[in-house]
Amino acid sequence: MSGHEPSTEGLPQEALERLHELEATGGTLGLFTSDLSVNEFMLVREAGFRPRGLVFGSSIFHVGIQGRRWGKNVELGKLTEALYSARELAMTRMEEEADVLGADGIVGVRLDIKYYDWGKHSAEFIAIGTAVSATEGGDWRTKRGLPFTSDLSGQDFWTLLQTGYAPLGLVLGNCVYHVGHRNAIGAINQYPRSMEQPKITQALYEARELAMARMQDEASSLGAEGVVGVQLVEKSHMMGSHIIEFLAVGTAVRPISGEHSLALPQLTLSLDS
C-alpha cells in the first residue's frame, strides 16, 4: 500500500493518452481493458463491479551495495528500503492510473520484477492490475480517498464481498537480511553431526518476523480489521545466496456489514484431469 498522494506527474504522456481513450466520450461508449480471465470477468460483474482498464506502474531501480561483516547476522536496512521504495513507486503509479480513470479500486494486482542484461544491479519493478468501478456507486475508496488495491483474483474478490468484507489495500512488509557465514573452525567441528544451526535459525526467524510486523503496521494504518491471502516469500534476487529478502504480502480488509456468513458449499468431484 503506497503512502504517496497520487499525482499524474509520474505518468508518461502515453499513459494519460491511453487512459483517456478508455472513457466514454460524446460519440462512443468507451472501452474497457483488463487482464482478467473470463471466469474472473464474470465474477467481478456478479460482485457488482465492472472492469475499467488495465493499470500499470513501473520503476527501474538501481539497488546499491551495502557493506556488511562477513560473519554477522544483520538486516541490510538500506537494501530493505531500496526494494520497498521501488515497489512503492511502481504501486503509486498504478494507483495514479486508476485514479485518472476515476475507478473505485484495483483487483488482481501482480508485483513483478524484470531483469535486463544491460542493467547490472538494476531491475524493473512492475505493479499491474485491473481497475474496477462499482456499478451502483458507493464508498469503496480508502479513507484517504485513494482507490483500493488488492492482489485478490476476480474469484477471491467476489468471495470476499459475499462474506461481508471489502478490500482496502495491498499491504507489504519486507526485510533484506544477511545471514552470517560460519567460520571455518566452527564448520569443521560440526561437520559429521546433524544438529540445529541456532545462528541461522535465529537470523531467519528474526527476518521473517520483521517483514510480517511491517506488513501488519501498514494494515493498521489503513484501519483494516485484518489481512487475508498473506504470502511469505524469500528470495535472493541477484544478491548472492547469503542475502535474502523476506517479503510478506497480503490484502487488508474492512467489514462492510455486521454479518459475516457464507453459503454452505456443495461437495463435487470434478471430472477435470
Partner: protein, 301 residues
C-alpha cells in the same frame, strides 16, 4: 536509427494444397447439408469439446497460419527510442500469420477460431529468420452449411479456450477478435561516468523508467486502437511481455495481446454462482507467484 531489412520470406500458401483440409481428407461438398461427413481434427480437450458443443457450436478443424519473416537489424542503433521499422515488422508478421489463419477459417466455414496460440520460433543461426505461427480450432454454429450468407467475412480469432468461450457466451458476450500492440524499443548503454555515479546508491533510474514505461504504454495504446476499430466493448485476458528475439538485450519488444469482446444483450443468462468444495486434493499454488521472476499463476480458471 539503422535501417532494417524486414521482409516476408515465404508463405505457407506456396506449399499447402488447397483441395485438401488440414486433416488430409478432401473438402466436403458445400451447401448440401453434408451427407458426407468428413472427420474433423481439433486440439480441443474433452471438456472444451463438450462445452463448445453445449453452446451450440461444432468444431470444424485444426487450423493454422504461418509467416516467416526476417527480423534482423541492419546497421547500428544509437540513442534511446522506438525502433519504428521493427515495431511495424513484428506487428505485420503476426498479422500475416493470423490473417492466414482467418483465411483457413473462412475456407472451412468456421465463424471463429478458439484456443489461438501465437508462437515465434527463431530459425537459428545468423539467418535472423523467425517463423510466426498462429494455430487454433475453428468452430461454427451447429448445422450451419459451409458458404452460406450467415457466415461472416471475418471469422473471429480468440486465445480463449473452449471453456472460456462457453462461459463468455453464457454471460452474454461474444469474442470479436484478437487485438495486439507492439513497441520495439532500443535502450542505450549506460556510459561509464553514470555507472560510477550510481554504483553504490539505491536510486530510481528515472530516464530508463520513463522510457520503458512509455514503450509499454505505447504497445497498450495500439492494442486499444485495434479494439476500438473492431467496435468492441472491452478486452479480456490481456497479456504483456518483453522479448528480445535475435537482437540482444538492448533491443526489447513490448508486446500486448488480448481478446476483444462485445455484448449480446438478448443472450444473457443468469450466472448464479454457487460455492463448491472439491473432493479432489487441492494443488497449492506457487507462493512465489505474487512477485518476482515466476510466471503468473492464478486460481483455477
Amino acid at each position: 536509427m539503422g535501417s532494417i531489412a524486414a521482409q516476408l520470406v515465404s508463405s505457407h500458401e506456396d506449399v499447402v494444397d488447397h483441395t485438401k483440409t488440414s486433416a488430409g481428407a478432401p473438402v466436403p461438398p458445400t451447401g448440401s447439408g453434408g451427407d458426407v461427413e468428413a472427420s474433423v481434427t481439433t486440439d480441443l480437450s474433452v471438456d472444451e469439446w463438450l462445452l463448445v458443443d453445449d453452446s451450440g457450436y461444432e468444431p470444424c478443424g485444426l487450423l493454422f497460419g504461418v509467416a516467416v519473416f526476417h527480423i534482423g537489424l541492419v546497421g547500428v542503433l544509437t540513442g534511446n527510442g522506438e525502433v519504428d521499422t521493427l515495431s511495424s515488422a513484428l506487428l505485420r508478421a503476426r498479422e500475416l500469420a493470423t490473417g492466414k489463419l482467418q483465411a483457413e477459417a473462412r475456407r472451412v466455414g468456421a465463424t471463429g477460431v478458439v484456443g489461438v496460440r501465437l508462437s515465434i520460433d527463431q530459425l537459428g543461426g545468423k539467418s535472423h529468420l523467425a517463423r510466426f505461427m498462429a494455430i487454433g480450432t475453428g468452430i461454427r454454429p451447429k448445422g450451419a452449411a459451409v458458404g452460406t450468407e450467415s457466415q461472416p467475412a471475418t471469422p473471429f480469432l480468440t486465445a480463449l479456450s473452449g471453456q472460456e468461450f462457453a462461459l463468455l457466451l453464457r454471460g452474454g458476450f461474444l469474442p470479436v477478435g484478437l487485438v495486439m500492440g507492439v513497441c520495439v524499443y532500443h535502450v542505450r548503454r549506460l556510459g561509464p561516468l553514470t555507472w560510477l555515479r550510481t554504483y553504490s546508491q539505491s536510486i530510481e533510474m528515472s530516464a530508463y523508467t520513463s522510457a520503458l514505461y512509455a514503450a509499454r504504454e505505447l504497445a497498450m495504446v495500439r492494442l486499444q486502437a485495434e479494439a476500438l476499430g473492431l467496435q468492441a466493448e472491452g478486452v479480456v485476458g490481456m497479456t504483456t511481455s518483453e522479448l528480445s528475439h535475435v537482437w540482444g538485450s538492448h533491443v526489447i519488444e513490448f508486446f500486448a495481446m488480448g481478446t476483444a469482446i462485445t455484448s449480446l444483450p438478448d443472450r444473457q443468462d443468469l450466472l448464479d454462482p454457487t460455492f463448491v468444495l472439491s473432493a479432489r486434493d487441492n494443488v497449492v499454488s506457487d507462493p512465489g507467484a505474487i512477485l518476482g521472476d515466476d510466471e503468473r499463476t492464478r486460481d483455477d480458471k
